[in-house]
């Protein structure tokens, strides 16, 4: 059978994001989906028709080389890049063309590439900015400080005076403060040492524990396979591969990553 068959768990190494039990898994309606999504920067086309779907509680990874369109895709979802009205649907409603503020208020938040903390704001103030569009939910300052104690220590320092990994925690926390239903993470591991990357991803279970849906864009393919349930591979603005992380082989991923062939597992 293909990659869409049910995953059989290995009890010795439980998958961090197993699919829900029962046949109902296949018929769940998508929380977020895109249909033939195209994106442009001026005259240059970055996305050539992306079909993507996300069900509640999943952790999906998007991998691909630089310039493949991964960040552009996330920016389209959050409204930073213009998308046509019907191309993106979130909780059944079209959100293409809405301003970013509206989208985050509906429950779709992003940790931007490169962290992009506000230099003039302290750690705590950066986190509070995330609460501008605060929705009801479990995430607040205390909970974040419990998850990342180092931030509590440095809460009044300027955001950009922290180390790379700590800044990533702030960026992640900032997005969580709005209590989103879907969290998009653009290159969490960018520029960070492996030990720091592991520390950050160690926080993932706490984030997904209450059913938050997460999409991560990752350069680190191994990490992506480890933590995610499904993987999309982007190549030059198109989806070159899609399937369950456990079922895809290294070879399939390499081919799709570098674009030998459009592979459909």
């Amino acid at each position: 059978m293909g990659a869409r068959q049910r995953y059989h768990s290995n009890a010795a190494c439980p998958h961090p994001n197993p699919p829900p039990e029962g046949e109902g898994a296949k018929t769940m309606t998508a929380l977020l989906d895109t249909h033939a999504l195209k994106a442009f920067y001026g005259d240059a086309q970055a996305l050539f028709g992306i079909d993507f779907s996300l069900t509640q509680g999943e952790l999906v990874a998007i991998i691909g080389a630089n310039g493949a369109g991964k960040s552009t895709f996330l920016k389209s979802l959050t409204g930073l890049v213009r998308a046509p009205g019907e191309a993106i649907r979130f909780k059944g409603e079209p959100i293409g063309g809405l301003p970013p503020g509206d989208i985050v208020r509906r429950g779709l938040a992003m940790v931007p590439e490169g962290r992009r903390l506000f230099p003039s704001l302290s750690v705590e103030e950066n986190l509070l900015m995330g609460a501008t569009a605060a929705r009801k939910g479990p995430w607040n300052l205390q909970r974040l400080y419990a998850l990342f104690p180092i931030l509590a220590e440095k809460r009044h320092q300027p955001g950009t005076s922290l180390s790379g990994g700590q800044q990533q925690m702030v960026a992640l926390g900032r997005a969580l403060m709005s209590n989103p239903e879907v969290l998009l993470c653009d290159e969490l591991s960018l520029g960070l040492a492996p030990i720091v990357i592991r520390e950050i991803y160690a926080a993932m279970p706490a984030i997904t524990a209450e059913g938050m849906t997460v999409v991560i864009v990752e350069q680190d393919v191994t990490m992506a396979r480890q933590v995610s349930r499904r993987i999309y591979c982007f190549q030059e603005g198109r989806v070159s591969l899609e399937g369950n992380s456990a079922d895809l082989t290294r070879e399939q991923i390499s081919q799709a990553y570098f674009g030998m062939e459009a592979a459909h597992a």
Partner: protein
């Protein structure tokens, strides 16, 4: 010499009020309002008109009534006119504000003629508090200084301790990410300008009380405001106050040396500061 210093500091109080609005608008949205001085004069004339239209109600009350009008005006101006000029290119905002400057000056000329006017304060502008035998401090300048310090402190507090101030700082750091957080940048900008215009109205009212105003006075006030901001260093309201003080003292020293060279001396000191320390004397470094 001490008297010159003191007069300079008092003058600096007024210049602070000229400059705070400019510092605010530039700080939040990198917008240079070349009509700053003209709006100040417009504020003064608004109070003058208000006083004569209401049959000589106390100018303080009229000034207070002008403040919310200024707030609304600034909000609308930013929202519907100036927001469209923001961006990498400084030309559109410069041309539009320059155009506004011309429009205001000529409108005031039409409505009020070129004669200098003043806001009557019942002698307050001539009252003084004697300090020993040698010196007398004007009551009105002292009030102006007090208002200037209060305004600076309030702005500083607003920026550092309130959610709105946080929004200002965030949107000026990174507009895109601020919008990602849910801020409506257009409205935040409009609020910043609204507050700036309240400061402009206060400055205008006080200028009109302290001395006479005429429709073409605007540009010179703009230059003073600008010099105060640059000397003090951008990014800091207390810096703007310090810069205004230095400018005031410098001008007073210049007037002392030769009445014809007072303002010239202020300009020269400004240019020297610009060459020697372009970031200003008390800049706030940004990440």
């Amino acid at each position: 010499m001490l008297e010159t210093l003191v007069q300079g500091v008092l003058l600096g109080g007024l210049y602070t009020l000229f400059a705070l609005g400019q510092s605010l608008m530039f700080g939040v949205m990198r917008l240079t309002n070349t009509a700053q001085g003209d709006f100040i004069i417009l504020g003064a004339f608004a109070v003058i008109a208000g006083v004569s239209l209401t049959g000589d109600v106390a100018p303080w009350l009229v000034a207070l009534a002008v403040l919310p009008v200024a707030f609304g005006f600034g909000y609308a101006l930013q929202r519907y006119v100036l927001n469209g000029t923001l961006g990498k290119d400084p030309l559109p905002s410069l041309v539009v504000t320059f155009g506004l400057s011309i429009v205001i000056q000529n409108l005031l000329l039409e409505l009020f003629s070129a004669d200098p006017r003043a806001i009557e304060t019942g002698g307050l502008n001539t009252q003084g508090i004697a300090l020993g035998d040698a010196m007398s401090l004007g009551v009105l300048p002292l009030i102006v200084l007090a208002i200037a310090v209060a305004a600076t402190g309030s702005l500083q507090w607003l920026f550092a301790r309130t959610a709105l101030g946080r929004s200002f700082r965030a949107v000026s750091d990174d507009r895109e990410i601020a919008e990602l957080m849910g801020l409506n940048a257009k409205k935040v900008y409009a609020l910043a300008t609204a507050i700036a215009f309240v400061l402009i109205a206060i400055a205008g009212a006080l200028q009109g009380m302290r001395t006479t105003v005429s429709p073409s006075d605007g540009p010179l006030l703009l230059l003073f405001a600008f010099e105060a901001v640059i000397i003090g260093g951008m990014g800091s309201f207390w810096g703007t106050l310090a810069g205004a003080m230095i400018l005031g003292v410098t001008q007073q020293i210049g007037f002392r040396l030769d009445p014809g060279w007072g303002i010239w001396f202020g300009h020269i000191v400004f240019l020297i500061v610009l060459v020697l320390r372009p970031q200003g004397l008390f800049p706030k470094t940004r990440g």
